[in-house]
């Protein structure tokens, strides 16, 4: 199926259809799709193919979260009639498992990139003209250049990450023991995921968040449900609370928050967001328009310089691996002349993989109200009515937001494993389905996806296992 140019007629080593700078989610997806479409591609990476997501992001964190799930299952086994004892967490074992997963996927990716005939260039690149990237003295020329240099963990002014007691996510992934206590600065996706892991592993955890809610970008109902669940799990959190300072001792940190309260812990995790990797890479010098360090683009991922595209975390918007994939694919197809449709940011699903999971796609109720005024309807189906969720002993809900008489524009879910339901939810939102379209497709019993079905039935005015 692939249309790779055969080896012999390949363009000269230093001139390509596409030069991609950075081989994270956005960059490698672009390279793979471009090669598939018969374009010649150079993919420049200074570290490892796969970028943040594969090595220090999505994959290792989700491995930790699965180990956490296994620990919880053992801890709570008696509830299900299973006599098991949780003796402890063997961090060397956890890391071995995590690294094995990463290693295997890395091998697969490397094979894939090689198999498609992409020229992988090892080294740090710099944009030296709209069509050239320099790597250690060698110039790689592309008809088009795609910037995909990703992001790095930010800190706050005056808060110094020492990698010992004050950590970023990257260092937190390499701990060789479970801390007895942690303060997590930032209640967003990454903060909540680490808090969840550590709690499952037995630590005392306190999240400090400046905004009024945990996972503040989610529908308020989701934030509240997560807060309730975290409270039950014994994860402390202080929302609406600004970080003031930290005192780093020999074997502890003391965090002071606005108002003067202090929290002591073994470690402080700084999870206050990620900034774009765009500094000193020649972008600004070549006239690529930037805004607060991010590369601004139009909806077709075009920067202000005609030959230069940008994808992934350096472009303002959702910092998610699959948004990077989607943009990378889009750009490759655009360059190949397929005239693809722009990626609609609102149809990109979002999952926070803590326990319980939070998943959503489309507009929150507040956003929908802003956009459509009073012309919206919402429906919340409580997982208490869902057999499979009862079997898992999880609490939560499926909430739908629709335009009155119109399509479903937002789906919001909280509960164990609901991240897997977002696949269905995104078809509903992406295809602008009405509850009436979903209603006739009765869902498998007893599944959690049945709760999505029931919510649509209820919103279509035909509640089955729901009070009308």
């Amino acid at each position: 199926m692939s249309r790779l140019p055969c080896k012999d007629d390949r363009v000269p080593k230093d001139s390509y259809d596409v030069v991609v700078l950075g081989a994270g989610s956005g960059g490698y997806a672009c390279a793979l799709r471009a090669a598939e479409l018969g374009l010649s591609v150079a993919l420049i990476e200074k570290d490892r193919l796969g970028g943040t997501c594969l090595h220090v992001g999505c994959i290792p964190t989700k491995a930790l979260l699965h180990a956490a799930e296994v620990a919880d299952a053992a801890r709570e086994s008696e509830q299900f009639g299973v006599r098991a004892t949780l003796e402890g967490i063997d961090m060397a074992g956890v890391n071995g498992y995590k690294d094995a997963v990463v290693g295997r996927l890395f091998k697969g990716l490397t094979g894939l990139v090689k198999g498609r005939g992409i020229e992988v260039v090892e080294g740090a690149g710099r944009l030296t003209s709209p069509t050239t990237v320099d790597v250690a003295g060698t110039t790689y020329t592309g008809r088009h250049v795609v910037l995909a240099t990703g992001s790095y963990p930010r800190s706050l002014p005056g808060l110094e990450v020492d990698g010992e007691r004050v950590l970023t996510s990257e260092q937190a992934l390499r701990l060789d023991s479970v801390p007895a206590s942690v303060v997590v600065l930032g209640g967003g996706v990454i903060g909540c995921e680490f808090a969840s892991v550590w709690r499952s592993f037995g630590a005392e955890v306190t999240i400090v968040e400046a905004l009024p809610h945990l996972v503040p970008l989610e529908d308020e109902a989701s934030s509240k449900a997560l807060e309730r669940a975290f409270r039950k799990r014994g994860i402390a959190f202080r929302t609406d609370t600004r970080f003031e300072s930290v005192k780093v001792g020999d074997d502890a940190v003391q965090v002071t928050v606005a108002g003067g309260d202090t929290i002591e812990a073994d470690l402080l995790l700084v999870a206050v967001g990620r900034g774009p990797v765009t500094d000193k890479l020649g972008y600004a010098e070549q006239g690529v328009a930037m805004e607060r360090g991010f590369v601004t683009t139009d909806e077709r991922c075009r920067t202000s310089v005609p030959e230069v595209y940008a994808v992934g975390d350096i472009v303002p918007g959702l910092q998610l691996a699959h948004r990077g994939f989607a943009q990378g694919i889009f750009v490759a197809e655009d360059i190949a002349g397929l005239a693809p449709r722009p990626v609609e940011e609102v149809t990109i699903p979002r999952v926070t993989y803590c326990e319980p999971e939070v998943a959503s796609v489309g507009l929150t109720e507040a956003q929908a109200r802003e956009q459509y005024g009073e012309e919206i309807e919402t429906l919340t189906y409580d997982l208490a009515g869902n057999g499979k969720s009862q079997i898992l002993r999880t609490a939560g809900f499926v909430k739908l937001v629709r335009r009155t008489e119109g399509p479903v524009v937002g789906v919001h879910m909280v509960g164990a494993r609901v991240g897997e339901l977002v696949g269905e939810a995104q078809l509903v939102v992406g295809w602008e389905a009405h509850p009436d379209d979903v209603a006739p497709l009765v869902h498998a019993h007893p599944t959690q996806n049945e709760a999505l079905g029931e919510a649509h039935l209820a919103l279509a005015g035909k509640p089955l296992h729901a009070h009308s």
Partner: protein, 60 residues
């Protein structure tokens, strides 16, 4: 005014076909339906696109 046509559209085609029509700029209300119960099929939408582009071609 938009609401009734939307309801019509909903009845007239399955969601992926509606989405396709929207992406192609085809107004479902103007498409001749060939599916059972007056449902507009994907082929109907594609035929509508072909016809309109032919018309454009003839006009120029």
């Amino acid at each position: 005014v938009a609401v009734p046509t939307q309801r019509e559209a909903r009845a007239m085609a399955k969601p992926p076909v509606r989405k396709l029509a929207k992406d192609l700029g085809v107004d479902l209300a103007t498409v001749t339906a060939s599916g059972p119960d007056g449902v507009v099929t994907r082929e109907d939408v594609q035929a509508a696109v072909a016809t309109s582009s032919e018309e454009v071609a003839l006009a120029t």
